[in-house]
Symmetry: none
Subunit: 128 residues, 2 copies
DNA sequence: GTAAGTAGTTACCTAAATGTAACCACTTAC
DNA sequence: GTAAGTGGTTACATTTAGGTAACTACTTAC
């Protein structure tokens, strides 16, 4: 191992420590990158409530179009949050399922829900 | 047991409660409406880390332009998350401060941070 | 055979978010 | 007087997200 390589490895280590210890900004921006947008979390929540079918999810989140739902479901599948299952029944049955990984989002979703309720109260009292 | 594992176990418990509750969708969409977008939460986090000045915040969140930061700060002020203070010093001093209300976001921000770290680990191991 | 429901796809278009660059006024350091 | 730093604003351009409507293909009910 050359001096330069050693030096480089050392730099990489220091950099890793720096980025991990320093700020919450990195991880938070990572999270927002994957979860961001208007629909991803609402879709996961709709599924948490027991909806497995395209139409069910679309009706649960009124205002979402088929096109957007279709696109977001693909993204969520790519990111490992959901699985698309095709059943070889008479009218071919399709079900979306949450993966184990989605469980790790529990705290995020609960926190958002609680805060949403709080905020709703705040806005309500501001009007009176 | 690591902090992240503890957090994860806690998440799973919370998650179980969530599925029993009826519709979380409303409050969650309310929350996302106010907090949504690429920058609002990162700005609040940058300020939580002690940054009070326009330039400091902009340097902390590299990649954000002055125009967007300026616009988002106004939105955050309108929504009661921050206060803009002008000090009548020689070069006029301007400070942004978090309000009490922002404290209520604690759980959301911590959850996002923890999940971001977890996700980063997952992505890393997927590459190996 | 006609309507309605399943699960989407496609093309087209608009609106919102974000980026780029120039510019303002003011102050301090050199 | 020139550069660099404070804290922005403005006009313009581009990118992306999202919406609308039409269409596919297949099934069940009437």
């Amino acid at each position: 191992m050359t001096e330069i390589t050693k030096q480089l490895n050392k730099s990489v280590e220091l950099f890793a420590n720096l980025t991990e210890c320093k700020s919450s900004l990195g991880p938070i921006q990572d999270a927002l990158y994957v979860l961001g947008g208007k629909w991803r979390i609402p879709i996961l929540v709709a599924m948490l409530e027991g909806n497995k079918h395209f139409g069910e999810i679309q009706r649960t989140i009124s205002k979402i179009s088929a096109k957007v739902l279709s696109h977001e479901l693909k993204e969520l599948e790519l990111n490992g949050f959901i699985t698309r299952r095709v059943y070889d029944t008479k009218p071919v049955g399709i079900e979306y399922e949450l993966t184990e990984y989605t469980n790790s989002l529990g705290a995020v979703i609960v926190a958002l829900r609680e805060w949403g309720l709080l905020h709703r109260e705040k806005v309500k009292t501001e009007w009176n």
